[in-house]
Symmetry: C2
Subunit: 109 residues, 2 copies
DNA sequence: TCCATATTTCAACCTCTCTTGAAATGTTGA
DNA sequence: TCAACATTTCAAGAGAGGTTGAAATATGGA
């Protein structure tokens, strides 16, 4: 996870429907959801949902797996965790006391 | 910190120069840096730096304070922490075990 | 007051992103 | 093989974001 990857992920998350998709998929956990289910949940036409799903996948925030006719999308815990680690470590490595300002619990980075 | 605020912050961070400015200002800590110092450190013309500084300030990620002729910018620990909390709590409230996937230390959200 | 310094604002231009509907691709079951 | 289903790809248009140089604003000192 370098700066370029982080920027791609941050950019992917900074869009209303894409953030809603991520939250929806986090709620679904390991079951994930098909492109059609996601489009329906987002109240979006299929091509619009597909556009945002591929943006999220390109950024490494979700994964896809074909199951017969459907394509199942799942949140990538690895990707999302990598982004969080990147931001947290950038903070902590320079300023160990930033967590206090952030209202975050105390832990080692 | 609602979804709109988070999207604005994520969007502000998803740009190379702006992410570099944030990292630079984190390194400066409470001293902050003037617009001119930041522009020089970023190797950017003043209007470009100013454009990105106002984007970061509008998103709540930095603060500004005039000191005579100069304007001192500082990273907003409150803003950055709010964003981190938003993402972490969104994760944790739905899936308590996501931290394991994220490679993050164990703590309560 | 006048000048130099520090920074922002503005307008123009270009590029990238988002949205939409239609067409194409891939998959299953009759 | 054919029809229905599930999803993506494509092209076109609208809109948002980034870069630049010039002009405007604000401050401090001679």
């Amino acid at each position: 996870m370098d700066e370029k990857d982080a920027i791609a992920m941050l950019g992917a998350l900074s869009q209303e429907m894409r953030l809603r998709i991520i939250r929806f998929l986090i709620g679904r956990g390991d079951d994930g959801a098909s492109a059609g289910e996601i489009a329906e949940a987002m109240d979006a036409i299929s091509s619009k949902a597909s556009f945002h799903l591929s943006a999220l996948e390109r950024a490494g925030l979700i994964t896809s797996e074909r199951q017969s006719r459907k394509i199942i999308y799942r949140v990538s815990f690895l990707g999302l965790g990598g982004l969080l680690s990147f931001i947290l470590n950038d903070c902590c490595s320079n300023h160990p006391d930033i967590r206090e300002h952030c209202g975050l619990p105390n832990f080692e980075c």
